[in-house]
C-alpha cells in the first residue's frame, strides 16, 4: 500500500505542475502580435459554420476525405481555391457561398499558410526521435 501522505504529496505536485504549465502556455502563446484582419477572422467563423474541418485538415488535423489545406494558398493560389469554393466537387457540395464569404475563406487560408509548412518532407528527423521544422 502507498501511504496516504505520499498519495497527497504526489497528487498535489501533479496538480500544481499542471496548473502552472497551463497558465504558462496561456500567457506565452507561440505566436505573439496575432491580430488578424477582419476578413480572415470572418473566414475562421465561416470555416467552423460550414464545418470544413470534417473533410479537410490543417497541419494534419481534421478530416480525411479532402486534402490538407494548410499551404494550399501558396501552392495553388486564390483563383484555384475560389473555383472549388464556387462550384464544389464530385464529393464536396456547392455551399452556394457569396463573394464576401469566398473572399473571407481565402483570407483565412492565407493567414494559415503564413504560419508555416505542414509538408512532412520539410521536417528534419533526428536520431533521438525528435524533429525540426
Amino acid at each position: 500500500m502507498l501511504p496516504e501522505k505520499n498519495k497527497v504529496y504526489i497528487i498535489s505536485l501533479l496538480i500544481i505542475s499542471f496548473l502552472a504549465y497551463s497558465g504558462f502556455i496561456y500567457k506565452s502563446l507561440p505566436f505573439k502580435n496575432s491580430a488578424i484582419s477582419k476578413e480572415s477572422s470572418h473566414g475562421k467563423i465561416l470555416w467552423q459554420q460550414y464545418n470544413c474541418n470534417a473533410c479537410h485538415q490543417v497541419y494534419g488535423l481534421g478530416g480525411y476525405l479532402g486534402p490538407d489545406l494548410t499551404n494550399t494558398f501558396s501552392k495553388k493560389g486564390s483563383a484555384y481555391i475560389s473555383a472549388f469554393l464556387k462550384g464544389g466537387t464530385e464529393t464536396m457540395p456547392n455551399f452556394n457561398l457569396n463573394q464576401n464569404e469566398i473572399t473571407a475563406l481565402i483570407a483565412y487560408l492565407k493567414s494559415i499558410d503564413k504560419t508555416g509548412s505542414a509538408d512532412p518532407r520539410t521536417f528534419i528527423k533526428n536520431y533521438d526521435g525528435t524533429i525540426e521544422q
Partner: protein
C-alpha cells in the same frame, strides 16, 4: 458491498440504455460515412459528409460519456452501500443531457454548426452540458465524502469528473479573440484540451473497470495496492502532459513537444507490465471466460496492448511525421474507442443491466456469435485502416506526388474492406446490445403494467369497501 435493486430502472441504468441507443445510431452514421468514401457524392445533397461525420463522432462520444456516467453513478452506490447524494440531481443531469444531445444531433442534420472538431455544435449548446456536468460533480463529491483510505477507482472517478469539466471549459477558450486570432495558438490550446479530455473520460471508464474486476474476483487487494496507485499516477501524468503528441507538426513551442515526447515514454512502463502479466492474465481469463462482463474485459486487454504499441510508436516525433494526417491515426482512434472504451463500457453495461426480471440465457448463443463477430471484424477494420495509412504516408513523402484525388482512388480497395468489416461489426454489436436493451425495457413495461393492475385492483377494493 450493497447491490442496487436490479429490477428497478434507475436513472443510472437509463444513462447506459441511452448510451447504447447512441452507440447504435453512431454506428449507422459511421456506415453512411464509410459509404461516402467508396461512393463519392453519395447523399451529397441531403446528408453530405460534413454532416455525417459529426453525427457519427458526437453519437459515439456521447455513448462513451453517458455510459461512463451510468457506470460511475451505479458503482459509487455499490461501493458506499448508500444511495447517491441526490437522486434529483442525477435525474436533472439526465434530462439536460438527453435534451441537449437531441438538439445537437438535429442541428447537425440541419447543417447548423459553429463549433470545432468533435464539438461541432453551436457554442451555446455547450452551456447545458457544463451545467449537467457540474450537477454530476456535486453528486460524485458528496456521495464519496472522503478520500482517506479509498481504493484507486475512487481517485480515478474524481479525477475524471474534475478534469472533464476543466478540459471542456478549456476547449471553449477559442471564444476569446486572444486565443483564436492565430491558427497555431488556437490549435495548441484546442489539442491541449482534447488530449487531456480523452484522458479524463478514460479515468472514469478504467476506474469502473477496476471496480468490476474487484467485484468479479471478490477481493479489493488490487484497488488498494501500491502498483494500482503507481499506474494511476502514471496515467494522470500522461493526461496532464502528453497531449503535445497530437501537434508535433504544428509550429508551436518546442518544449511542448519535448515534454510530451518524454512523458509519453512513461507509457512503456504500462506496456511492460501488460507483457509481464500476460501469462497470469491468460490463466485468469480461462477461469472467468464464462462471464459475459469478463469476456469484454479480456478483449479490451488485447486491444489495450495493440493500441498502446501503436500509440507509443506515434508518440515518437520522427515516426509521427510519417503517420500524422494518415489513416494510421484513425486506426489508433478506432482501436481505442471501440476496442478499449466500448468493450470496457459493454463489460460494465452487462454487469449492471444483465440481471433483470427476464432471463438472459435464451440470448447467450446470440451473444457469443456477436462477440466473435465484433472482435474479428474489428481486427480487419483496424488492419485496413493501417494499410490505407501506410499508402497515404508514402504519398505524403513522395517527391513526385500524384493529385490527392488519384491517391484516394488507390486507397479504395482498403476503404471497401473497411466498409464491409464496419457493417459486419455493426451487426455483431447489434446482436450483443439488443438483449441488454430489450430485457430492460420489457421488464420495465411488465412491472408498470403489474403496478397498474395492482393500482386499479386497490381502487376497486377501496370503492367497494366505501
Amino acid at each position: 458491498m450493497v447491490r442496487s435493486n436490479n429490477k428497478e430502472l434507475s436513472t443510472s441504468k437509463l444513462f447506459i440504455i441511452a448510451g447504447l441507443f447512441l452507440l447504435a445510431t453512431g454506428m449507422i452514421w459511421g456506415i453512411t460515412g464509410g459509404l461516402q468514401y467508396i461512393l463519392p457524392g453519395f447523399l451529397k445533397r441531403q446528408l453530405s459528409f460534413e454532416k455525417v461525420r459529426p453525427l457519427h463522432v458526437s453519437s459515439v462520444v456521447f455513448w462513451i460519456i453517458l455510459s461512463a456516467v451510468g457506470g460511475v453513478s451505479t458503482y459509487i452506490q455499490q461501493h458506499t452501500g448508500k444511495k447517491l447524494y441526490s437522486n434529483k440531481l442525477i435525474k436533472a443531469q439526465f434530462i439536460i443531457f438527453i435534451i441537449s444531445i437531441f438538439i445537437i444531433l438535429c442541428s447537425y442534420i440541419l447543417g447548423k454548426f459553429g463549433g470545432r472538431e468533435y464539438w461541432e455544435f453551436h457554442p451555446i449548446l455547450a452551456l447545458p452540458i457544463i451545467i449537467a456536468w457540474i450537477l454530476f460533480l456535486i453528486n460524485v463529491v458528496k456521495s464519496i465524502g472522503t478520500l482517506k483510505n479509498q481504493p484507486v477507482y475512487i481517485w480515478m472517478w474524481l479525477t475524471g469528473v474534475i478534469f472533464f469539466l476543466f478540459t471542456f471549459l478549456e476547449s471553449y477558450l477559442w471564444l476569446f479573440p486572444y486565443f483564436r486570432n492565430n491558427v497555431v495558438n488556437d490549435m495548441t490550446i484546442q489539442w491541449k484540451s482534447y488530449g487531456s479530455m480523452v484522458g479524463s473520460w478514460n479515468m472514469l471508464i478504467y476506474g469502473s473497470s477496476i471496480f468490476l474486476m474487484d467485484k468479479i474476483s471478490n477481493t479489493k487487494t488490487y484497488s488498494h495496492s501500491r502498483i494500482a496507485f503507481l499506474l494511476y499516477f502514471t496515467g494522470l501524468f500522461n493526461l496532464m502532459f502528453n497531449w503535445g503528441h497530437h501537434i508535433y507538426t504544428l509550429p508551436t513551442h518546442g518544449f511542448v513537444k519535448h515534454i510530451s515526447y518524454a512523458v509519453s515514454m512513461t507509457e512503456l512502463f504500462i506496456l511492460g507490465r501488460i507483457i509481464y502479466l500476460w501469462k497470469d492474465s491468460l490463466t485468469t481469463a480461462k477461469k472467468n471466460f464464462h462471464q459475459t462482463s469478463y469476456r469484454f474485459l479480456m478483449a479490451a486487454d488485447i486491444w489495450i496492448f495493440l493500441t498502446l504499441v501503436l500509440a507509443i510508436a506515434m508518440s515518437i516525433p520522427a515516426i509521427n511525421v510519417y503517420t500524422h494526417g494518415t489513416h494510421i491515426t484513425v486506426a489508433h482512434t478506432m482501436g481505442a474507442t471501440i476496442g478499449i472504451n466500448s468493450f470496457l463500457l459493454l463489460a460494465i453495461a452487462f454487469d449492471i443491466l444483465k440481471d433483470t426480471c427476464r432471463n438472459f440465457e435464451p440470448y447467450k448463443k446470440r451473444f457469443n456469435t456477436g462477440y466473435w463477430i465484433v472482435n474479428g471484424s474489428l481486427l480487419l477494420f483496424w488492419i485496413s485502416l493501417i494499410c490505407a495509412g501506410v499508402i497515404k504516408a508514402k504519398w505524403q513523402l513522395s517527391n513526385s506526388q500524384i493529385p490527392f484525388s488519384s491517391m484516394m482512388l488507390t486507397l479504395k480497395p482498403y476503404f471497401i474492406v473497411f466498409f464491409i468489416s464496419g457493417v459486419i461489426m455493426m451487426i455483431g454489436f447489434f446482436l450483443i446490445i439488443y438483449p441488454l436493451v430489450i430485457n430492460q425495457l420489457l421488464c420495465y413495461s411488465k412491472r408498470n403494467s403489474t403496478e397498474q393492475i395492482d393500482a386499479s385492483y386497490h381502487t376497486t377494493v377501496t370503492l367497494q369497501n366505501k
